[in-house]
Each structure stands twice: as C-alpha cells, then as structure tokens.
Symmetry: C2
Subunit: 425 residues, 2 copies
Amino acid sequence: MGIVIRDALAAVPGPDGIEISRHTIYVAGDLIAGIDEMPAGFSGDEVVEGRNRLVIPGLINAHTHTYMSMMRNSADDLPFMEWLFERVSPIEDQLTGEDAYWASLLSQIEMIRSGTTTFNDMQMHIHQTTKAVRESGMRAVICRGLVGDAYDREDTRLREALEEMEDGKDCSRLTFLLGPHAPYTCGPDYLRMVADTAKTMGIGIHIHLSESVTEIENMRKEHDCTPIEYAARAGVFEVPTIAAHCVQLEGEDISILARHHVSVVTNPASNMKLGNGFAPVQELLDAGVNVCLGTDGAASNNAQNMFREMSHLALIHKGWHRTPQCISAPQVFEAATSAGAKALRLNTGSIEVGKKADLAILRLDTASMMPNNNLLAALCYSADGSETDTVIIDGKIVMQNRELKTIDEEKVYAQIRRMCERLGL
Amino acid sequence: MGIVIRDALAAVPGPDGIEISRHTIYVAGDLIAGIDEMPAGFSGDEVVEGRNRLVIPGLINAHTHTYMSMMRNSADDLPFMEWLFERVSPIEDQLTGEDAYWASLLSQIEMIRSGTTTFNDMQMHIHQTTKAVRESGMRAVICRGLVGDAYDREDTRLREALEEMEDGKDCSRLTFLLGPHAPYTCGPDYLRMVADTAKTMGIGIHIHLSESVTEIENMRKEHDCTPIEYAARAGVFEVPTIAAHCVQLEGEDISILARHHVSVVTNPASNMKLGNGFAPVQELLDAGVNVCLGTDGAASNNAQNMFREMSHLALIHKGWHRTPQCISAPQVFEAATSAGAKALRLNTGSIEVGKKADLAILRLDTASMMPNNNLLAALCYSADGSETDTVIIDGKIVMQNRELKTIDEEKVYAQIRRMCERLGL
C-alpha cells in the first residue's frame, strides 16, 4: 500500500534549517519513500490532495504518562509533593490495569487529534499502554516506572519491565527504555543497579530529574549533591539518558548534562502548574544540550496537546528573560520533532526519504493560520492543534479529515465515564 | 424568536462563585429570559440539546486590534519599539480601510470559533471594524486610536472618533470609548484634552499603559514619572478607564490604579512575545483591581483565541512566583468573562436572567475535556477552544455545530490571500 500527498506545502530540512516548500511526498510501507520523485515500483492506493495543507513531521511528545488522563483536573493548584503523594498516588493506587489501558487510549486520542505521532511514556501497569498502542497505531517508547532501594537484579518492577520488553518485540512501533522514576524514589544502590542493567542490555534510561525545589533541598540534605550529580555518580549517564524536567539546575549541572549527552525534556505547562518554575532552556541550548518537548501527564498539564506546549515554550522564556530574541520558532519546532527523535533514538521526526512515515497534515484554510505567510512561526505562535486534519503513523492513516480510523472514541468516553463513577472522580 | 438550551451543564454564578450545574436556559430576543423557568409567553423556535454540552458566558476579549490579523507572523522575535515602529507601522501605513475590514472579519472568525462573543478594539480606520461587526453579529466596543500633542478639540482623529460614534448609534451591539493610544504617543496636553472630552461626553477611555521597559525609561527621563502617574495627572482616570498591559508597575502605580477603579487588561501572550515580561496580576488582584483578559492584536500574540490566553494566565504566574497557589481557575474564568463586562460596562459576561444572551456552548465529549470532573479547571487548563460548538450573541445563533452563520469564511480567506500578495506579506 502506498500514499501520495500531492503538491502540499511541507516543513522539510534545508541548508539553513527547516524550510517550508511545496512537495509531493510518496509513502510506501512504513517509510517516506520519495519526495518529488516517485520511487520505482510505487503504487499509490491513497491520494491526499495538498491544496491548503501543510505537512509536518508528526510531533514527538518526549515525556508523558498516558494513564494519568484519568486524573486530569482532579488535583489542581497544589504544591508538588502534596500533589504527588496526597492526591495523585491515592488515585493511582485504585487504578486497575484495565483502567490504565482506557486512560492511555484517551491520551492517545488527544495526541493524534493534535498532530502527535510518537510519545515517550513512563507507566505503572505493564502490557496496558502497549495494548493501547497496538490498537491506536501510534509509535511509543515505553518504560515501567521503577522505584526501590537495594541493588537487586530480581526486583519485581524490573522483572515486569523486562517481561514487557520481551512481549513487545513483535511490534515495530514499540521500543523500550528503563525508567528509574527519580532520585527521590530510587536509592543510590537501586539506581546503580538499573544503570548497570541498562548498560548490559544496551538500552537507554528515562528519568525525572531536578523537578521541584523540595527535591533539590532534600537531596542536598541527604546526599550533599544535586539530583544531576546523584544520577551521574550512580552511572545513569553512562547509558543514553532522556531526563524529564531539569528545572532546578545549579552549579555544574548543565555542563554535566552536556558532557554526557543527556537529552533533556522540557515540560513547560507542568512545571508552571506545579509551581516548579521555568527550566533554563536557553542556557541548555547554549551549552549544546539536545532539548526536546513533552506535555507530562494530564494530571499536571492538563492537556496532551503538543501545539499548546509549543506555544508555552516559544513564549515563556521571552517573558522570563524579558527579550523577544530567545527560543525562536525554529528551535521550538526542533524540540517538538527531530530533537525528540534523537533523544529516543528513533528514525523519525523529519520529512526525509528513508525516515518513518510519521506525518501530520494541517489545514491552512483556518482563521488561526491565515495569512499563510510564516508557517513555522504560525505552528508555534498561532496554531492550537485543531488544524490537524490527517495523521499518518508508520505509513498508515490513523486519522483522516479529523475522523479517527483506529480508535472508537465514543466507546472510550463511555468507559472513562464509568471509571470516574467507580473511582469517585 | 426564542432559543431553548435544554438540560445542559452551565457555568452560573452561585453563592461561592461560579458553579457548574445542570439547567435549561431560555433566550428571548437579545436576553437570557429564563433559567429553568420558562418565561411567560415564550415560544422557542430553536432547541439546542444540552447532552454532552457545557454552556458558558461568551468570552470577552478585553483588548485587541482586530485589523492586525494581517500582520500575524510577519514581525516576530523583535524588541518592542523595533517591532512597532520598524515592522508593524510600515505595514499599517499600506493598509486601506477595506483591508482593515477584511482583517477584522478574519480576527472575528477566529474569536467566534473559540467562544468569544465580545471584543474591545482599538483601530485606525473608522467604519471598518463596525462594518465587520454589523455583519458578524459580534458585540464590540470600539475606539479609534488617538495620538497627538496639542490641546486641540478639532483634532482630526478625535473628529473621526466622534463621527464613528454618531454613525454607530443604530447598532445595539456597538458601544464606544475614546482611545488615546499611549503616554509615549500622546503629549500631556493632548491626553488632558481627550480626558476632558470623555468627561464631557460621559464615556470611558481605553489606553495602553506601562507595556515596555523602554516606555518606563523614556517617561522617567522626559517627565520624571511613571506612565500611570502621567495618565493620572492628565485626568485620564477621572473617567472610567480600561488600561491594557500594565506590565511594568512601580512605586505607587498599583495603588493609583486601585484608587481610581481603573480596570486592567492583562495580555500574557503579547507581553511575553515582545519580551515585556509578566504583569503583576496577583498583586493587582490583591489590591482589588478589576483584572480582565485580552489577546492583543495578532501581530504580537499571534492568535485571537481566548482559551489559549486563559491557559497562559492560569500557568505563567504559577511559574513566575513558583507556587501552584496563584491565579486560580475561577479567577482566570472571571477575568475572561464578568471582569471584562464590568470594565466595558456591558450587561453581559454571566449567565443570569436579564443579561444579554451571549453564550458559548462547548462539547464535553472531546478528549481534552474528559473526564468531565472539574469543568472550571478544564476550561482554563485543558480546553484549546476548538471544543466550541455553538455560539449565541445578542440572542442570535452565529455559529451552530461549528458552522458560521454570519460570515462566509472562504470569501474572507480568498480576500486575505489577495491582500497578502498586494502587500508583499
């Protein structure tokens, strides 16, 4: 099966970064097989007309917890530790695996509808996000959240993580990381054990680092170092690491991250909503750190819409540093696309021949995108995500003219309503 | 003609602020004629079913320049004065009155589609926004931007403003203010003249105040005071004033604003985008100032979507002050509805019998709004505006099931494309 996107504006890599130019794109199998040149033996069953359309690489939500959509708007306006331990955890404790499956589908509906094709998920209930991903057609990087104290290779959560990896081998849209939750929930020996395991297995690590002021204060008190130093000492950064948040960075933190090629996921809405502040994104970029973008879970955002996140990233640092010349639209777009692909080591995130065919096709004949005169800026400053018309993931159309092809939305919403009643949400 | 919105969740004033509860709302003529009780003699031609719907007061965009949608994404990432005088003004100089009419329609499409029913507009070309408003069905408060030096009651721009007011008397959806642009474009005598004229006429003033650091520095150098003090001395605050921005407040500024019952419009996206920073909204609210919310023009936002603006207002102050307990969802909702109505002295902004029937009806069966468990928070933290399904303004349906009833969108977009070509945008 092949798809032709005919004569559309597209955001493609050019000599000076991403440029918007008109192209015909050929999708064959799971790949972008040709741009303007039809590949040999191509047969296109499906034609998408490009008039008034903009094709972008599908957005990459580089840090979220899809099962947390059940907690959307049920734990607002609380300090971080109270939010986590007094509100979120008690609801989490009641969630069944099946709840997590439906809640993950809910997040995935929201993501597909707003142009996201890949997400990086830290979760609790193995086999549930993967089950939802198999159905939705999304691309996902999965880790089971790990917490513990001892150097114990037989740790239950680690065993679950490994079991899930084994099970997911047959789905090419699924890849896995190890997910030690955070320095404040993983003792130094446990963290060392997870890092050693990742090193042995040749896979990467996904971790929360330096999110709240309380985390920094406690780490100083208990270990006389920053969470970044703590993770470095435990050997975490000896494997490819994607670190969420990195809001409270001090001293040598940025240079440690840069030296170890740690990718940082910034989550502006979540960091603001929980009162954690603004991450030093400009400083991280200046130090050469690969900065990608994520929504975090819906309990602290409270959306899974990467366009909203792009607008936050494009604006808040200009406000904070009081200069309009800070975090440009091209930098925001890179954070939401190719930087995420690099961090997650996926062959996606840009429109190039040979890359996975993960594409979002947006309408340009909408008020928010008119006039169509600087579309890279429009994506970051004007679009709200509802411009997303058609989404292709791994060469398959998962949404066409805003109609989802893979998920029965009504069924998901009905199930979510039943779960809310049961959980008292 | 009457409209019944049957058995819908609605955001209505309760004893402890806005509450979400289930109601049937009767619209007769231009008013909300009954809530749960059918008014005598009511005949409902139109029934809107409330299942999976949330009715909110139409949002009030308390500061914008609708003609500026032509400059959307054509002057990004520039310092304020360069943005204004080197990029925006040269384009403005080329705009004809007819251009301003089409551009205002473009902004109005975006506003209606995202649930805004009223806007407060400062403009250059008289009769153009009003012409667009007569067609779109929106409610608008209009002022012609005034700039000058001398105390001259025969000033051309002022004469234009008065002529437009006279012309607009026949449309009940139009009201007017006087619009001295800003302290840095209005000399003290001119400002005094405008204030005196407003006082004589019994109308209010709409002005930009304390937006950029440069404005403050120049004001200190030239007049040894803050822009707030400058406006106060000129007598501006002796008439009801709605002041946009108020980002750079110092010394006695907040108490001057509070003492004179000046309404402040905060424009978070614009203030961030131009590098002006964050307005002290929490401090203004603590001082009892009526704070409302606006998008500003699309040249500095770059959207006219009040839901996006609500999310910025709800989040950035939590980030800036590093506390999640700052600017709550109810405060954000008030800023986007009833506070705007108060500032603009309009009988709208809340769902109560006797108020103008300006209503936005949102879908609750969308991923962003599920689970439906704290809808006031969902409006501020989760909604992107595209949930808006049906919009009623002044008792008339202007959008139904996302189809605009009053504006031919395709015609507007075609015209905007032609204007872009002519203007080289």
